[in-house]
Symmetry: C2
Amino acid sequence: MNLKQLSELLGLSQTTVSRALNGYPEVNEDTRERVLRAVKETGYRPNKAAQRLATGKAGSIGLVMPTAPGHQSDVHFGEFLTGLGEEAVRHDFHFVIMPADPDDEVAALRRLAISGNVDALFVAYMRGHDPRLAMLKSLSMPFVVHGRSFGTEPDYPYLDIDNEAAFNDATRLLLQLGHTRFALMNGPAHLDFAIRRRNGVVAALAERGLELAEDCTSHSVMSDEEGLIAMERFLQLPERPTAILCSSTVLALGAIRAVNQAGLKLGEDISLIAHDDVLPLLKPENFSVPLTTTRSSLRAAGVRIAQRLIGTVKQAGPFPEQELWKTELIVRASTGPAPQA
Amino acid sequence: MNLKQLSELLGLSQTTVSRALNGYPEVNEDTRERVLRAVKETGYRPNKAAQRLATGKAGSIGLVMPTAPGHQSDVHFGEFLTGLGEEAVRHDFHFVIMPADPDDEVAALRRLAISGNVDALFVAYMRGHDPRLAMLKSLSMPFVVHGRSFGTEPDYPYLDIDNEAAFNDATRLLLQLGHTRFALMNGPAHLDFAIRRRNGVVAALAERGLELAEDCTSHSVMSDEEGLIAMERFLQLPERPTAILCSSTVLALGAIRAVNQAGLKLGEDISLIAHDDVLPLLKPENFSVPLTTTRSSLRAAGVRIAQRLIGTVKQAGPFPEQELWKTELIVRASTGPAPQA
DNA sequence: AATGGCTTCCAAAGCGCTTTCAAATATGTA
DNA sequence: TACATATTTGAAAGCGCTTTGGAAGCCATT
């Protein structure tokens, strides 16, 4: 059943039926009702491809999913997606997901944009000096970035958490507890959040004349395995760090295993603060020693970004172009006074 | 730049250019090269919406993502998606993801199918007597199901693992080790895999004249929290089970925390076998007591299903309609002889 | 009766592609 | 040379929708 058939059935023109369906004012209310009733009865659904061809709008937002053989699937990605979805479903929007090799991000994003399959783009996994930004700006397609790109003028629409402040605060707390030997277990070095978190730590330490040693910094994918490996390395240092900052509760999972295996006590021998993305699977309060965390819900961020994106497509703005969310510092049992040497 | 402009530029008809691009044989090789070169230079990309309208093919596979405020995002889902993506990217396919309330699955799937945005459907989270199957069959759109639907004639295309055999084998192993008091920590009761796994356990026990007690069975979302809760319940039973079968390593995570908190030793006081979906985040060999598991890679299943789906759309079949994968039973340290009473 | 302004509807022109059908040219055969 | 057969190209008709530019009918106003 297509528009032509439906209009013939009703003895109306396609024009009128189309207008009736799309809520245009210049159609008699009686006629509109007649049309709506016929739609119900016949089960007519407009062909999306035709609609898109005619209007240019697709009712969908696009995103690139980093993937490759051997590439780790990321819980954070799934959690964020859930947030996006939660909002999208309210507006009858869907996603178009373009899987792409992480090294091919720029090209994949461009392909997605010009594919004509999406009205707006969402971009994550921001890097320092991210090359995608220039491309996005040249595209004249609405987009929102999750995170920011260190070293780039922040004149693009983004939603980010204040990573620097979060890790600055966390470091300060540990300094107040008397710690002097710090280590940072971070995400991949090129990612924006990793850069900023490191800066936050370094700045807080510098105020006390302390430095973050090279061998007390690790950069890796945020899996528990990598957390284990990094922590084992830290624990073997001659001047073992007593204060650990950790970019994810997933990393912390492995780190804590290393602490236990070394026969050390979390919150006594080693203090640890992790960033908590509020993953439903990994609640810091459920750890055997509940974790002190900097918290910000990844999922809530997803909801918010979907709101902005969909709102922009539907011209339902205006939305703030830049949003910087504060994180909460939640003190639990994994932090304690520095052990006496 | 559209086809018309490109063809005018080349002094050719749209027909010829279109044919050259789509690999039709009836075009001179010199002409084809000229066209291809012009495409490179101009950066021309065919409009997907128009292409779709003309051909009816969208180059995409659709799936419904269960989501709702408060709904847990599922690591298993993300991992599977990664597998699908890995294969899709090789064929320049993408996904259209329709987020939907889990209670609205049938309708959401239908909406997705008739949206005209997808060429094929993928369906997961199968239930017993799943109502989506009848709908799918009536749709005349290719689809592949991950899992099966207990109680329904298996005459639809699926890929499943042999859940019954997996849990049957696991139970047998524990029986051989002398265990007599069993508990099953399962996924949501209405899901197909949960039904079959339970059947596998029950059948193995029945051979020895044993039964699986009602209070030794738990059904829940597969999170570590639920694992903890279920295990705590098991441990408080007067006749405490010594052999635990567990539907996911995620559940096991919580279960083991409960075991530890109770001061019991895994592999001695309590034996546990979990099903391992090969989540990169949760490797059973990395548990403090390495886990005995039944293993089957969720991601590999994703790759395979994408292959079949894309192959069908591209008419590159024939593919087997039904595939049942065996799981591997991998014995590690979490299983040991039943403790003497 | 003529004019103008509303309201309500329609015919037809796209949107950018694919594909059918036909024509033009090149090649081979008797 | 004449004819049949490949090979290569093109004109035009869709695909199913939206939207422009009228037009018809109706009313109130001059």
